[in-house]
């Protein structure tokens, strides 16, 4: 598939008049890559692309390679309307609001406005007006964690070593809870509990924590606590429409775990799905 993408790569001609093939492919290349195809002439050789890893089109002021989006509309909006209800570029877009409403999950305003997130910042307070924090005072948002692609490869030991599925929080939040980096902590939300080792960094805003999404659930039958830190355990089954998703944010409380500390993920016995099935 990569080869097809390379074959099909087109680059704008120097005079801006059209496109030409970027990569020269020879018979030798086709043989080396063990693919099927036809040779073609392009601007750079395949070897050069592979070595450099990048091809950049040279720009200069006054060159013919400029592109203006919606050029006709810009020159004469009345004669060349864009494909919206008003024929203009819409910052206030009723059609978009209608589209979202017709899906049936939520309504949004026709202009960009702040949409309150379910189980986001506001829901960490029991009294929002007076800023009194509630039972779950922290906002936990989920990140795409480098150990996995969603849940794929979560069981690879070297990746588990490189990325320990840590609960990331700000040192000031940890300090008031008597927590140090590496401590096992219990993360409780309105929907479930997980155990994780905590990692402290100033890169997290105070009162916000994060945990990678996609870990393979491992529930301790005795306590009902997920030991693997799967964020789906913490998030509720909240259906949402456009704007944000139920799995992006939830409110949690974090306490130091006084039971048996967790082993680092890399030390867990490898889980092999076919065997488990």
């Amino acid at each position: 598939m990569l080869f097809n993408q390379i074959v099909g790569a087109n680059v704008i001609k120097d005079d801006g008049s059209g496109y030409e093939k970027l990569v020269t492919i020879t018979e030798a290349d086709i043989a080396e890559w063990k693919v099927e195809g036809k040779p073609q002439t392009g601007r750079i050789s395949l070897k050069e692309l592979a070595e450099r890893g990048i091809y950049q089109v040279k720009r200069a002021p006054g060159d013919k390679l400029g592109f203006i989006s919606h050029e006709a509309f810009r020159k004469d909006p009345k004669a060349n309307p864009v494909k919206t209800t008003s024929g203009k570029l819409e910052i206030h877009s009723q059609s978009l609001a209608n589209l979202v409403k017709n899906c049936g999950w939520n309504e949004i305003a026709p202009i960009p406005k702040y949409n309150r997130v379910i189980e986001g910042y506001e829901d960490s307070f029991k009294d929002l007006k007076n800023k009194v924090k509630g039972e779950f005072p922290l906002q936990l948002y989920t990140i795409h964690y480098t150990r996995r692609t969603h849940s794929v490869f979560d069981n690879v030991t070297w990746l588990r070593e490189a990325f320990p599925q840590e609960l990331i929080m700000n040192p000031s939040d940890a300090e008031v809870r008597g927590i140090k980096t590496g401590d096992t902590v219990l993360v409780t939300s309105r929907h479930g509990k997980v155990l994780r080792q905590v990692f402290l960094t100033e890169r997290m805003m105070p009162e916000v924590v994060t945990l990678g999404e996609g870990a393979w659930v491992m529930i301790d039958e005795a306590t009902g606590i997920d030991l693997a830190g799967a964020t789906n355990i913490l998030n509720g089954a909240i259906p949402t429409g456009q704007g944000h998703y139920g799995w992006n944010s939830c409110n949690v409380q974090i306490t130091k775990w006084t039971g048996k500390p967790l082993d680092a993920d890399a030390k867990w016995p490898p889980r092999i799905p076919l065997k488990e099935a």
């Binding site: 890893g53 070297w158 070593e161 490189a162 980096t181 590496g182 960094t201 100033e202 030390k267």
Partner: protein, 209 residues
């Protein structure tokens, strides 16, 4: 020494993805706990509470950047100097190698190295470290870390040539001063990079937990 093989690291391009670390583990089949090349984050800073508005905090000087660090194949390798069995030697091309058959596992080199390069293999009872993928170099290939980096942040070559191309910087926090062992390294700094020993930050290494 006519030639000194060295790594070049573009700190400003590194995103901390650890592809280099995992590639090295794969090629050398390293057990958990051994990281001949590892990626560390260095970060710090503070958040300040707004003086009057409750629940408002502002980040001041919060920073973080990643470094990819392995054996520096130093020009004055302290490890080779102090090893009691002379198991660590420096080749004519500058690569510093551990001869595992000669090593007694006394771990003195572990004490002496300012870069944490020699690492003890519990199962074998000897010290191990980055060997510059010298077997691949002999075949005209790149070290796997260099080959694996998606940001092309790692290069290698003769130290003098790399210095001509990229300059002579070789020490930023959290690396120690280059004066101890004169690492064969050239670095292009991250925009937030602090000189060695400065920055007031911490090495943030979740793998150490």
């Amino acid at each position: 020494m006519e030639k000194q093989l060295a790594f070049y690291f573009d700190m400003s391009a590194c995103v901390g993805c650890k592809a280099c670390q995992v590639a090295c583990k794969d090629k050398n089949d390293l057990p958990v706990g051994l990281r001949w090349r590892r990626v560390l984050e260095y970060g710090g800073g503070d958040w300040i509470k707004h003086p009057t508005l409750a629940n408002l905090v502002v980040p001041t000087s919060v920073f973080a950047y990643a470094i990819s660090t392995a054996c520096m194949h130093c020009q004055s390798p302290l490890c080779a100097q102090i090893c009691p069995t002379a198991a660590i030697t420096k080749r004519a091309d500058g690569i510093v190698l551990v001869n595992q058959d000669q090593c007694i596992g006394c771990r003195y080199c572990e004490w002496a190295c300012p870069y944490g390069a020699p690492q003890f293999n519990e199962r074998k009872g000897v010290m191990t470290k980055c060997n510059f993928c010298e077997d691949l170099l002999a075949k005209g290939e790149n070290p796997v870390c260099v080959a694996a980096c998606p940001m092309r942040a790692l290069e290698f070559g003769d130290l003098a040539e790399l210095q001509t191309k990229y300059g002579k910087d070789n020490a930023f926090a959290p690396w120690p001063s280059a004066d101890l062992t004169r690492p064969a390294l050239v670095v292009t700094p991250h925009k937030h990079a602090f000189p060695s020993g400065k920055g007031g930050g911490m090495i943030l290494d979740p793998e150490e937990m």
